[in-house]
């Protein structure tokens, strides 16, 4: 008598179909140092989501829709989700919202990942934004005109109910947190408020687009510490700003360094001399998610220490920065400061 056992059979891998949210990505162009498709790829490779990608192909005769099953493998539990590609030549752009609407999963958040600022597109976005949970965009599409962008964005924020997240603002989230960790008590904040010098070094050229993260960080500090804008100039070496406060002025230098950033963020280092002559030097490690901090005074030096500076794609940092944290009052304050820069 043969033993009782089941025949071994070959069966397809079991997988669970799941989605955490709908993600509608639209990239009409490729801009700046940070292509939106890298954002898209990073998100969809880490989290299960229904992604709908809208792209332009001038040679397309009609609107084309195709779907792909996408599998994330996590240990023993493969998860599948769908990616839907919509290709349009441009002439039928107005049909796109109608084409993608049936494909949205109900009851889940809808995130718009936009390859241009919300100030630009008037075709697709108005139809989608009443359903969307949040719009994530890359402001560098505005061509680096900070004054123009910030002025229009402030108007837009007043009128539009849609929650937004500026990718460049998200990219400096870790730097803002680093400042909170370093300057955590009233005494330190007071000295920071009366800073004398601020220097931000970024990877790239003397171009407004490349310096966007740095200028955002500078304007954020100025806004939160109550500095008053005085002057701005652009030279071959970089950008030079001056702010004033109750005890004098802050000279700001934003300069490029010809070095590959080694990650998606361009800001390489920050130097500050505070009101009591304490010098802080924060330098990001090109590999990894940390920065080294050196603090020195006229008569002493602290041992250097490491501060975390998580990149956007470390663990679930991106989920917090892009989809959960709000671009609230600090972002608005930063935009007000940005708007004071000349055109």
């Amino acid at each position: 008598m043969s033993p009782l056992c089941l025949e071994k059979t070959t069966s397809p891998d079991k997988a669970v179909r799941a989605s955490l949210f709908n993600l509608i990505a639209y990239q009409p162009h490729r801009y700046g140092h940070y292509a939106l498709n890298e954002v898209l790829e990073n998100i969809t490779s880490k989290l299960p989501c229904r992604s709908i990608c809208i792209s332009m192909d001038p040679s397309a005769r009609a609107l084309k829709i195709e779907s792909i099953i996408h599998t994330l493998q996590k240990d023993a539990y493969p998860i599948t989700c769908e990616q839907i590609n919509i290709v349009t030549a441009g002439a039928d752009l107005a049909k796109v919202p109608f084409a993608l609407m049936p494909h949205l999963l109900p009851d889940l958040p809808i995130y718009l990942l936009w390859g241009q600022s919300p100030l630009a597109d008037q075709t697709i976005l108005p139809a989608l934004q009443k359903f969307a949970t949040r719009l994530v965009f890359d402001a560098d599409e505005e061509g680096g005109d900070w004054h123009e962008f910030s002025t229009r964005m402030l108007e837009h924020l007043q009128k539009s109910p849609l929650d937004i997240m500026d990718v460049n603002w998200a990219l400096i989230g870790a730097w803002r947190d680093a400042f909170v960790r370093l300057f955590y008590n009233p005494q330190a904040i007071e000295q920071l408020s009366y800073s004398q010098k601020l220097s931000l070094i970024y990877s790239g050229a003397v171009a407004k687009r490349d310096a966007t993260e740095s200028i955002y960080l500078c304007c954020w500090l100025a806004a939160q510490l109550g500095w008053t804008f005085r002057s701005f100039s652009e030279k071959a070496e970089g950008f030079f700003l001056e702010y004033s406060h109750a005890r004098g002025s802050v000279e700001v230098v934003i300069a490029p360094q010809a070095q590959q950033a080694g990650g998606e963020t361009a800001l390489l280092s920050v130097d500050i001399t505070t009101g009591n002559q304490t010098h802080y030097h924060l330098k990001r490690h090109l590999q990894g998610s940390t920065a080294t901090v050196h603090i020195s005074r006229s008569d002493s030096c602290d041992l250097p220490f490491t501060l975390p500076l998580p990149t956007l794609w470390r663990n679930l940092t991106y989920m917090k920065e892009l989809f959960h944290y709000t671009a609230g009052s600090h972002y608005r304050n930063m935009l007000y400061q940005l708007a004071s820069l000349p055109r």
Binding site: K46, I79, R176, F179, Q224, T290, D302
Partner: protein, 517 residues
């Protein structure tokens, strides 16, 4: 920064909604640092906090123990342990370099005054070197019998400071469970500690409270009204809480012979789970509000009567099989007496006498050498009245919400569906949420969260004195009863089985049965 809970400093750089804990610099001293816990849990937790940027910018850690070793030896040993036990691999050597530069070892005996004096001088030096500002965190990773001595010595040598009273620095103590062996010893320990420390300085660690899934329990209950509306005796039939372990006692024979499963698991971990499941919604998310609600529900648990005491099931594993591996019985384990009557399994029925839970039994079981490792909370709902289906159609299975604490962390919902076809047949089906699949990220380990909270001065996830005493008031009579009444003949369940048959009778009496987890 002052240690008193005055109005928090409103940092203009700090954004609402961004969870950046700008914590005070400090030194952490681990007493008993050559023990197992330091290498397996504490240092990997600190390393991962450093890796994630959750440690203060100025931080140092000192291992305090009897054995002779240098700073470098200690760092090297910790590097090996972190490489083995850290949840993030491989070690980021840049992070390690900075972290290790703040890692030190101090050799001394727990009862030696000179050792504490030299510790104080050493910590003052570290304040200068690392900018740790005199803030101290002491982790007592020692057998509980040393707690009173160490705390007394710390106080005598001004290593801990009075709370409040204008003191700019702070000092805190973390104590591992068990907090006492029973109610009198817990009260004695508490009274002793209170001579030197305020309650705000005492952090009683229960690592279950640091688990992601346990924290999710409160979020699940209080951010999903659909479930909270059913979370009462009108809809719930009973609740089962299971903590089963595949492992035996390993090398913890000495400890386990004095503790047993009731003290090791039930009195602390399971009561924390029960209180989170049964508590009322807190007024806010402040530590005091949450702890108050937990104490209230624990104080509403009906004391065990003489009959109830007799019905509590205790067991001890004998030889058996775990998977295909033959394993020895408890009495054959290292450092266990051949005639030991210590229990490795407990099952009991509790009732909470309040409006929400009147009439709903809570069945708790915890055991070692069971078929699999599982910690779960199962909410079993009342069955539907048999109106839909008459005569020959079986009744619908009870709905259940199962919260899996570990492993396969997640939540599942069981409900009934009609089988497609011409006839009305019912099939129970399951909707499953798995943390690991959806978020594709390893959550922080329990000790990471707890150490981070303690450094930040947040005691929400630590057991309060009231909670501990309420739990001991419930279980001390049971321990006394066991002390005066003969145990059932041990061993009474085979390793690899689900416990003694008496446990089935316990729940079977009311027509219920244990879930197959």
């Amino acid at each position: 920064m002052t240690a008193t809970p005055s109005a928090p400093f409103a940092n203009p750089l700090s954004e609402e909604g961004r969870h950046v804990k700008a914590v005070d610099p400090c030194v952490m001293v681990i007493f008993g640092s050559t023990g197992d816990l330091t290498g397996r849990k504490l240092l990997p937790a600190l390393y991962n906090l450093a890796n994630d940027g959750e440690l203060p910018a100025r931080f140092a850690c000192v291992g305090f123990a009897r054995r002779d070793k240098s700073h470098e030896q200690f760092r090297s040993e910790m590097h090996s342990d972190i490489a083995k036990f850290s949840r993030t691999q491989p070690i980021d050597e840049e992070v390690w370099k900075t972290f290790a530069s703040g890692l030190y070892y101090h050799r001394a005996e727990f009862d030696n005054d000179a050792g504490y004096e030299s510790l104080r001088q050493f910590l003052d030096e570290l304040d200068q070197r690392h900018g740790t500002a005199g803030n101290r965190l002491y982790y007592l990773s020692t057998p509980p019998r040393y707690f009173p001595l160490i705390i007394e010595k710390l106080s005598q040598h001004e290593l801990i400071y009075p709370y409040g009273k204008g003191e700019a620095r702070w000092s805190r103590i973390i104590i591992e469970k068990p907090f006492g062996q029973d109610l009198p010893s817990a009260l004695a320990l508490q009274n002793h500690i209170n001579r030197y420390l305020s309650e705000e300085q005492i952090y009683r660690i229960d690592h279950y409270l640091g688990k992601e899934t346990v924290q999710n329990l409160l979020n699940f209950r209080f951010t999903n009204p659909i479930f909270e509306a059913l979370w009462n005796n009108r809809h719930i039939d009973h609740i089962q809480i299971t903590v089963s372990e595949e492992l035996g006692i390993g090398t913890r024979g000495h400890f386990f012979e004095e503790a047993g499963t009731l003290r090791d698991i039930v009195q602390n971990h399971m009561m924390q789970l029960l209180s989170l499941v049964a508590m009322e919604p807190p007024n806010n998310l402040k530590a005091a509000s949450i702890r108050n609600e937990k104490v209230k529900v624990m104080e509403a648990i009906r004391p065990l009567t003489q009959e109830g005491l007799a019905e509590v099931v205790r067991g001890q594993y004998g030889p058996g099989f775990i998977g295909q591996q033959a394993v020895i019985g408890y009495r054959e384990e290292q450092d266990v007496a051949a005639d030991s009557n210590v229990e490795t399994y407990v099952a009991l029925e509790l009732h909470i006498d309040n409006w929400r839970w009147a009439g709903v039994p809570f069945f708790l079981r915890a055991g070692k050498r069971m078929p699999k490792r599982t910690t779960e909370i199962a909410i079993i709902f009342r069955c539907a009245p048999d109106l839909m289906h008459q005569s020959d159609v079986p009744q619908a299975a009870a709905n259940a919400i199962v919260i899996r604490i570990q492993p396969d962390e997640g939540i599942s919902l069981k409900f009934n569906c009609k089988v497609p076809g011409l006839y009305t047949l019912l099939q129970p089906v399951k909707m499953d949420f798995l943390y690991g699949c959806f978020f594709n990220s390893t959550p922080p380990e329990a000790y990471e969260r707890l150490l981070c909270d303690c450094i930040a001065g947040d005691n929400t996830l630590f057991a309060s004195a009231d909670e501990v005493m309420a739990s001991w008031r419930l279980f001390t009579p049971l321990l006394d009863y066991w002390h005066t009444h003969t145990s059932p003949p041990f061993p009474n369940y085979a390793a690899g089985s689900w416990g003694p048959s008496d446990a089935d009778n316990l729940i079977g009496r009311s027509g219920r049965h244990w879930r197959l987890v």
